[in-house]
């Protein structure tokens, strides 16, 4: 628990209203987008400006208090959970500081919502490309922390590829400029290291992002297949063809049926083993030519039908089913474990079969809806948190699925981050010297490891921890599941 005098200091910085200490008030902040994990912060503090944020972090630094930064709390790996430490909510910092359309860049505060930025950019014919499915709620600060992806990252790249510069507040209170708004590169790529550091390296006070011109035209098609293997083959064929689709999304039968039974029904054929949602963009002629090629490849690989959306309304409807698929899964059970892993694209058929076998052997149901174009899987398991036995089986199935993806040459996360949820799988993917080097990188930014403690890298990998037995008893850092 934080000393009362520190709480008073926080109140004097941000105002009484923006410091929460009572259990009932903190309840809303003990969860994020990851089901099954709940951690109660000791205090939640919500600065309203850049200067207040700096003062808060300096006040915490003065007493050596750890803290966890949080944007909208939509993260899916538990990265925004604060276990009896200070929660630093940044959602009030929502200023769009600059939109320089001529130079194709915008500077925003961390609490700006992804979709809000794009709404403001829309009239200028440009957009900020990374589009996580939570875009309507998630913040740019959170996107930077997690190096978020989204369906359209296949063509446009992930957050890392769209951040030019950031003003960063280190956990000790120092303010640094990382990167170069003009696109220049000098010195160690500290910005590259900062993007995706999951709140462990400091707080972004502002972020300058690259803007992208809206494509002249967009074509979206639905291809349906009677076998998963055919859909996987079509995916490989499209990617290998040289067409870079704006998006190439895969949904299996379980997902199709739950979407079609919901209010988000998109007209997907309920008897299909799998569908691909394929989008191409560019000039009108280019997009048409690309779509013809894609259609041909799908048919060659055994597609039953390939339907191209005739107008914007049809296109929106096709996408709605995909974007709301996670929500539709709420029909199956109260909780949904949205998983995230990556595999080499040629392993798609084999790994999907493995995932189903794992689900069967653990007595759970898996629905797959994912970014097929870059091999970024999202096996989702619906379950009821209240059923301890079922929750245990889900947890074990997830572990087995992660192992299957790693064994196939993949990764344990493509866009959701490690947070608390994936901490246990890190040694599956990285050897001890590599984990130790990650600790060293973190220590350069935050030698006391006060920012988002206990996340991302298991603490027993750190040299300091191994060297100092006293730290071991004091640490809470291994991210115990629930």
């Amino acid at each position: 628990m934080l000393d009362a005098s520190v709480v008073d200091r926080l109140r004097s910085i941000v105002g009484d209203r923006y410091v929460l200490v009572r259990d009932a008030e903190l309840l809303a902040y003990q969860s994020d987008g990851l089901p099954g994990y709940h951690k109660r912060p000791s205090v939640a503090v919500f600065p309203g400006s850049r200067d207040e944020t700096i003062d808060v972090v300096r006040a915490l630094a003065a007493v050596g208090a750890p803290f966890v930064s949080r944007g909208a709390g939509t993260g899916l790996s538990g990265g925004a959970l604060a276990d009896d430490v200070v929660l630093l909510g940044l959602h009030r910092l929502k200023g769009i500081l600059d939109m320089d359309i001529a130079r194709m860049r915008a500077t925003v505060e961390p609490g700006v919502v992804n979709a809000t930025l794009n709404k403001r950019l829309g009239p200028h014919g440009v957009f900020y490309a990374p589009d996580p499915s939570s875009e309507a709620a998630c913040t740019i600060g959170g996107n930077v922390a997690e190096n978020s992806g989204g369906p359209h990252c296949l063509k446009y790249g992930v957050t890392l590829n769209h951040v030019l510069a950031a003003t960063v507040l280190l956990p000790d209170g120092e303010v640094l400029e990382l990167g170069d708004r003009d696109g220049g590169m000098a010195g160690y790529d500290l910005l590259g290291a900062f993007v995706g550091s999951e709140g462990c390296f400091g707080v972004a006070l502002d972020v300058t992002v690259r803007l992208t011109r809206r494509p002249e035209s967009v074509r979206t098609a639905l291809a349906d297949f009677t076998s998963v293997a055919d859909a996987a083959r079509a995916t490989s064929a499209i990617v290998a063809s040289g067409v870079v689709p704006a998006a190439l999304e895969f949904m299996d039968n379980g997902t199709i049926r739950v979407v079609e039974e919901s209010i988000f029904a998109a007209g997907y054929p309920a008897d299909a083993a799998a569908i691909l949602l394929i989008e191409v963009d560019g000039s009108a002629e280019g997009a048409d030519a690309d779509m013809e090629l894609v259609r041909g490849l799908c048919v060659e690989c055994g597609a039953r039908t390939v339907r191209v959306a005739a107008n914007e309304a049809e296109r929106t409807r096709l996408w709605q089913g995909r974007k709301k698929a996670f929500g539709a899964m709420g029909r199956l059970a109260p909780n949904l474990a949205v998983q995230d892993a990556v595999i080499p694209r040629t392993q798609l058929t084999q790994v999907l079969a493995q995932l189903h076998a794992i689900a069967d052997s653990h007595g759970v149901t898996v629905c797959n809806v994912f970014h097929a174009g870059d091999g970024n899987l999202h096996p989702n398991i619906s379950y009821a948190d209240g059923d301890a036995d079922q929750a245990r089986r889900v947890h074990e199935a997830m572990g087995a699925m992660m192992k299957a993806c790693v064994d196939a040459g993949g990764s344990i996360t493509g866009e959701h981050g490690v947070g608390l949820d994936k901490l246990q799988y890190m040694p599956m993917l990285f050897d001890e010297p590599t984990l130790a080097a990650m600790c060293d990188l973190r220590s350069a930014f935050d030698p006391e490891r006060r920012a988002n403690p206990g996340k991302v890298v298991p603490i027993h990998s750190c040299r300091e921890w191994l060297a100092a037995p006293s730290l071991r008893s004091a640490s809470s850092g291994d991210g115990d599941a629930r």
């Binding site: 194709m104 997690e146 190096n147 992806g149 063509k155 446009y156 790249g157 890392l160 590829n161 640094l176 003009d182 696109g183 220049g184 590169m185 000098a186 010195g187 160690y188 790529d189 500290l190 590259g192 290291a193 993007v195 995706g196 550091s197 992208t212 011109r213 990617v239 290998a240 063809s241 040289g242 870079v244 963009d281 560019g282 990556v342 080499p344 694209r345 040629t346 091999g375 040459g409 990764s411 493509g414 866009e415 981050g417 890190m426 993917l429 990285f430 050897d431 010297p433 590599t434 984990l435 130790a436 080097a437 990650m438 060293d440 990188l441 973190r442 350069a444 930014f445 991302v456 890298v457």
Partner: protein, 222 residues
């Protein structure tokens, strides 16, 4: 000199004997940056070859001493390429291209090595061998040691193996046009200048505590 173990042994020897090392691919960059006065050369050029290439995965893994030409020939057989065209001839090594983050006109469409490299093996200045990133095109597991090493000019570790994103050459001209970004020059590299002195020193202290790797190559700002 071939293999991570051999390079790690060379670095450990250098630490023990207080020998500073100039890390060299084929020597194209010897004049760049500040003058380096090192006791010995550690040459990666002989450590070459493609380690893994599955064309349909659109990724390739090669040893750092592999030349751009060798890689281009292998990928070209499948009408594929890594979207990098740095200045200089194609005898430059992959290791040097990535260590300097060198880019050419294609960067306006596809970005620099920062956007093309998926993972790497690095022998740190401590002698530890690390495996950063991975071999898949999307990966956010752990802290990004890969980005840290790209453009670090071999001052934190010696890159021995690199995995790149591969692109199809067919139809490339318009497919990626929306990635277009303003670049100050058509050719360039990451400037070896110390920008954030305190953080840079902290990194150097942790990754090359004996100060044996490319001493002096990172210039103080003017």
């Amino acid at each position: 000199m071939r293999g991570d173990d051999v390079i790690a042994a060379a670095i450990r020897d250098a630490i023990t004997n207080h020998v500073t090392l100039r890390i060299v691919g084929c020597g194209t960059w010897l004049d760049a940056g500040a003058p380096v006065t090192a006791d010995a050369y550690l040459t990666l050029k002989e450590d070459s070859g493609i380690i893994a290439y599955v064309p349909d995965d659109l990724t390739v893994t090669a040893r750092a001493g592999t030349t751009l030409r060798e890689l281009a020939e292998t990928l070209g057989a499948n009408d594929q390429w890594i979207a990098l065209d740095p200045e200089g001839d194609d005898d430059a090594t992959l290791g040097a291209t990535v260590a300097t983050c060198s880019y050419g006109p294609a960067a306006a469409l596809f970005g620099t090595p920062r956007d093309q490299v998926l993972g790497m093996t690095v022998v740190l200045g401590t002698g530890d061998v690390i495996h950063a990133g991975g071999r898949v095109v999307k990966n956010v597991a752990g802290f990004d040691l890969t980005r840290l090493m790209i453009g670090a000019w071999g001052t934190l570790g010696v890159i021995t193996e690199i995995t790149f994103r591969v692109r199809s050459r067919a139809m490339r001209k318009d497919s990626m046009a929306h990635m277009r970004r303003p670049f100050p020059a058509s050719y360039g590299f990451r400037e070896p200048i110390i920008v954030n002195p305190r953080l840079s020193a902290a990194l150097k202290q942790r990754f090359d505590p004996a100060g044996i790797l490319n001493p002096g190559i990172m210039r103080e700002p003017q």
